[in-house]
């Protein structure tokens, strides 16, 4: 009859394996022989311990001293004094990457690519939106007509929540100066305000996203989710995700503009 129970067996096995403690295995062996469940654990340990003896052979030597020291000599700036000890060990931290060999290294390209695509794409979108807005503003306005108070202008601006943005007011003022209020004016003003406001918003968004893209040190999935399964998503997917909110905003702006422009203009008289 076994002298120890399963709990004691597990405890002693853990001592033996995890703490590398010297334990009389006779009791363990005896219990494993009688208990099928514990026998599995016992055999697992045996199998791995045996395999490890052969597996622990020294790794093929690699004298990388010269290579490493050459790169160190090429200029390795120490990180700032006072950085916490765990700074480098913490997975969330990525120090600027040293130059590494060619071929498989795509990190630099990822970072540069993200910055470039983010900046260029947003700049182009903002520019296009600005042009549309400017074209709409510069179109000849209908002549004076029994006036419609420009009060609608403010209400429109208010509802778009950009009432206080100076570009919208400036554009509205320009429109006011160029043509007195007319029957078509509210629509024109709405369009002008919307275009200007969205241009402004797009510009702000572009700056913000560009700044964020530049400031983020690198894309290291380890940093945010150590336990997450490995991800091999292409870096372009990451860029798409980053600019998705801005794209969404811009598409809203275009949609608004398209719907706001009257299909048919009243001919000037």
């Amino acid at each position: 009859m076994p002298t120890i129970n399963c709990t004691e067996f597990s405890r002693q096995l853990a001592e033996l394996v995890e703490r590398r403690a010297s334990i009389d295995v006779a009791q363990l062996r005896e219990h494993a022989g009688a208990c099928p469940q514990c026998r599995e654990l016992w055999l697992d340990s045996l199998i791995v311990e045996r395999a490890v003896v052969a597996w622990k052979k020294p790794a093929p030597s690699a004298d990388l001293s010269a290579r490493i020291l050459a790169q160190v000599a090429a200029g390795v700036a120490p990180i700032e004094d006072g950085a916490p000890l765990g700074a480098e060990t913490a997975p969330a931290r990525e120090i600027a990457r040293p130059e590494r060999g060619a071929g498989r290294r795509i990190l630099g390209r990822q970072i540069l690519g993200r910055q470039f695509i983010g900046t260029a794409g947003l700049s182009l979108a903002a520019l296009a939106l600005g042009l549309v807005a400017m074209l709409l503003i510069r179109r000849p306005l209908p002549p004076a007509a029994p006036t419609q108070p420009v009060a609608g202008q403010n209400s429109v601006v208010d509802t778009t929540n950009v009432a206080s943005t100076s570009p919208a007011k400036r554009v509205a003022a320009q429109v006011d100066a160029r043509a007195p209020a007319s029957a078509g004016a509210p629509v024109e003003l709405m369009v002008a305000d919307a275009g200007s406001a969205y241009l402004h918003l797009a510009g702000d968004a572009a700056k913000a996203v560009t700044a964020a893209t530049v400031l983020v040190p690198s894309a290291d999935p380890v940093a945010d989710a150590p336990a997450a399964p490995p991800s091999d998503d292409h870096w372009v997917d990451g860029v798409r995700e980053e600019i998705a909110p801005v794209t969404h905003q811009l598409s809203h702006a275009f949609e608004f503009l398209i719907q706001a422009v009257p299909e048919k203009r009243t001919p000037a008289t």
């Binding site: 853990a14 033996l16 394996v17 995890e18 590398r20 010297s22 009389d24 295995v25 363990l28 062996r29 022989g33 016992w42 055999l43 697992d44 340990s45 045996l46 199998i47 791995v48 311990e49 395999a51 490890v52 597996w55 622990k56 052979k57 020294p58 790794a59 093929p60 690699a62 004298d63 990388l64 001293s65 290579r67 490493i68 020291l69 790169q71 160190v72 390795v76 120490p78 990180i79 700032e80 004094d81 950085a83 000890l85 765990g86 700074a87 480098e88 060990t89 997975p91 120090i95 040293p98 590494r100 795509i106 990190l107 290291d220 999935p221 380890v222 150590p226 336990a227 490995p230 091999d232």
Partner: protein, 186 residues
């Protein structure tokens, strides 16, 4: 002042001999971990180089009251994890392929260590790291917990699961049939 601290001070003073000594003292350890983690010599060399560059960069942040080895190992562990995550899909597939080959029984003539190498390569990253640090570097569970910045209980769980998966792999391969009831040569 400890030996490690003196060495680090030399490095921080720009002493070339000190830097060389630091590299020579720890490169075998770092390279061995990288080889076991990445299963590719070329990658292991690149990551080893990367580890030391980061070590030199972060040397000022090392706490002289603590040993240098676990600190360097922690950097190595992080770099290995990062390298594994940056591997292209093909490499990920090849890892799966290794697992499939192990399971299918191809290559019966492999030696036990090679079989275990294959099985280790198919382990989950955290388990693999634990296993390599425990069995190859012979760190204790507490030291591994410190290196990986995880609770000791988590490390023990990972080790246990790693052992179980590896044993299962080796059983399927039929490379260990006649295990007797002995451990540690007892």
């Amino acid at each position: 002042m400890t030996d490690d601290a003196a060495l680090v001070r030399l490095c921080l003073e720009g002493n070339e001999q000190g830097a060389r000594e630091l590299v020579e003292r720890f490169q075998s350890m770092v390279f061995a971990v990288c080889v076991k983690m990445l299963s590719q010599r070329e990658d292991a060399e690149d990551v080893t180089q990367d580890v030391f560059l980061r070590v030199f960069r972060a040397l000022r942040s090392w706490d002289p009251t603590r040993p240098l080895q676990p600190w360097i190992l922690a950097i190595a562990a992080n770099r290995c994890r990062t390298a594994l995550r940056q591997r292209p899909r093909d490499a990920a597939r090849s890892s799966v392929e290794i697992s499939r080959i192990v399971a299918s029984g191809a290559g019966d003539s492999r030696e036990l260590s090679d079989e275990l190498d294959l099985a280790v390569a198919a382990l989950r990253e955290d388990y693999r790291l634990c296993f390599v640090l425990f069995y190859q570097q012979e760190l204790s569970c507490a030291e591994i917990a410190s290196v990986l910045d995880r609770p000791e209980g988590t490390v023990k769980t990972w080790l246990h699961r790693a052992r179980r998966e590896l044993a299962e792999h080796l059983r399927r391969r039929g490379v260990v049939n006649n295990a007797d009831y002995q451990l540690h040569g007892v």
